[in-house]
């Protein structure tokens, strides 16, 4: 059965490719740092399960040292000029979209096929990671099609990939780092502490204030953890169950579902949710790493208010 581990082998190869591409980029004076960063990630994907928790911990410290000591260089400029690109894009026309669309198309159609047709029962792909596996298939397919059609220089996928990777740099590792910070926060009992803090200030007698505190707690704790998943069980145990559901008789389905979505408003506003907020800023080469968050706040705040009203009205008055 094809599962995540197959993808890890592919991803390790891609990161090794970024290392090779960075090494070839003579214009980057700090290229050794970039080579080290991508090599460590290739090691992590290929051998992460063999080197033990401590081995991985040391690997993480090495990654942090490379980024923290500013050993990374930016990528060299683009490999073709703007004029060349415009000419090339003119020549190839809208067919240029096809290889790019192969990836989402393969993921989309493949997921439907492997989830809702008899293909599901042949156990070819681990059901837990169907979309990611198919995304990987789409990437390979798109690469093959692009090479066959455009006939680029042999190593150009590696060079172009590492050009993008080095323009994003350390931000590519941040989401994974934050996920492991979440594991430490949980192990240190932070959830219990925050639950107790919130539990100590519960207002009695006012359903609306209790709803507000529940929603506010979800947002703040989500912003700290970068993820509503960590906040949800804590807030449900501290306020959702004892106050909103048991004492005030709220509808559990609403308290659960809309409570989580209220937390998502917090995810829109925190640098801790790096993969949604910091990485896109790096990917789009924005000047401020907080530019995307700033744009999201004005949606998140009215949406938070809307969710509080949904919680209050649908949870207690329908």
């Amino acid at each position: 059965m094809i599962n995540l581990h197959w993808l890890y082998i592919l991803a390790g190869a891609v990161f090794a490719g970024f290392a090779l591409g960075s090494a070839r980029d003579a214009a980057n004076a700090k290229r050794l740092g970039n080579v080290a960063l991508w090599s460590l990630l290739a090691i992590s994907f290929w051998f992460g399960d063999l080197i033990g928790d401590l081995g991985n911990g040391v690997l993480v410290l090495a990654l942090v040292a490379i980024a923290g000591l500013h050993l990374l260089g930016r990528a060299a400029g683009e490999t073709t000029s703007v004029e060349e690109r415009e000419q090339l894009s003119e020549r190839h026309g809208n067919k240029l979209f096809l290889p790019a669309l192969i990836i989402p198309f393969t993921a989309f159609v493949g997921t439907l096929l492997f989830s809702y047709t008899p293909l599901k029962s042949i156990d070819l792909i681990d059901p837990k990671s169907v979309t990611l596996v198919l995304l990987g298939c789409g990437v390979l397919l798109a690469l093959i099609v692009s090479y066959a059609w455009l006939k680029p220089p042999a190593l150009s996928a590696i060079d172009e990939g590492s050009r993008l990777a080095n323009s994003i740099g350390w931000a590519m590792v941040l989401p994974q780092m934050l996920a492991s910070l979440g594991v430490i926060f949980a192990a240190a009992g932070l959830g219990t502490t925050i639950g107790a803090l919130v539990g100590a200030i519960i207002p009695h007698g006012s359903v609306f204030l209790a709803v507000l505190l529940y929603g506010f707690g979800m947002v703040i704790f989500t912003m700290i953890m970068g993820n509503a998943f960590a906040a949800f069980p804590v807030m449900v145990a501290a306020i959702g169950i004892p106050i909103l559901i048991h004492a005030d008789g709220g509808n559990p389905a609403v308290i659960g579902a809309v409570g989580m979505l209220t937390g998502f408003c917090g995810t829109l506003m925190t640098p801790m949710a790096a993969n949604f907020n910091i990485v896109p800023a790096a990917l789009l080469e924005l000047k401020s790493q907080y530019a995307v968050i700033r744009m999201q706040v004005a949606t998140a705040i009215p949406l938070f208010i809307a969710n509080i009203l949904i919680l209050y009205i649908a949870g207690f008055h329908l």
């Binding site: 490719g17 992460g48 500013h70 000419q87 990987g136 990437v139 949800f232 896109p280 530019a291």
Partner: protein
């Protein structure tokens, strides 16, 4: 007796991000300090950090897409996205992003959360198209407007994902809600929960959609904010 010391770890993160230290460094230091304050020996903290990193490798799988995107960019993919949108009459930045928002919400509601995304669609297609639509209407854009439109493209992708995915029955967050409530003896089906994601999804579309129309208006007025 509740131990409040590990909360210091959170404070470190906030201060570190605010002072703009390298985020990887901030996160690692905060993690280690939190662990030590939680009475764990250093080697145990290091092992937890490594274990967490290894278990969460799937978060970084998406980067396998970069070689394809880079290759196509070399042949003018972004330029093509611009040319396409310039040829569509009546296409404005706001309208384009609204269509994308709706599409992202609907496709996520079918559980296909990683079909679109910052690397898959926003950088190679959506952001160049949104910029081209604005340039077509308003001519050369100043740097601030370019940044604003790019950031709004990424924001639209995120809002669409967050407020679409929970309508799908088998998404991780719905399963987590179900499990958390079941722990307190409240049995609900995923369907009962995901239905209640719909009102928030509609609110998200209306609120963010309104902001996108405002963006169009602002571009027309040519005012900076």
């Amino acid at each position: 007796m509740i131990d409040y010391w590990p909360l210091l770890g959170i404070a470190l993160v906030v201060i570190g991000f605010a002072l703009r230290f390298n985020p990887l460094l901030v996160v690692a230091v905060a993690g280690i300090v939190t662990g030590l304050l939680g009475h764990m020996p250093f080697l145990k903290v290091l092992a937890i950090l490594g274990h967490g990193f290894n278990e969460n490798r799937y978060v970084s799988i998406i980067w396998i897409i970069l070689p394809v995107i880079g290759l196509l960019e070399r042949y003018g993919l972004q330029e093509r996205a611009r040319a396409l949108i310039a040829s569509i009459r009546g296409a404005t930045t706001g309208r384009l992003l609204i269509v994308y928002l709706g599409l992202r919400q609907i496709i996520s509601a079918f559980g296909l959360t990683s079909v679109f995304g910052p690397a898959q669609t926003v950088r190679p297609l959506l952001a160049p198209m949104a910029l081209a639509a604005a340039e077509k209407e308003h001519g050369e854009l100043d740097e601030e407007t370019v940044e604003r439109i790019k950031a709004m493209s990424a924001a639209t992708d995120t809002v669409g994902l967050f407020f679409g995915e929970d309508i799908f029955l088998a998404v991780a967050s719905i399963l987590l809600i179900q499990a958390a409530l079941a722990g307190f003896g409240i049995q609900l089906t995923p369907f009962q929960l995901s239905v209640w994601a719909i009102p928030s999804a509609i609110c998200a579309f209306l609120i963010h959609g309104a902001r996108l129309l405002l963006l169009d208006r602002r571009l027309r007025a040519g005012t900076k904010t």
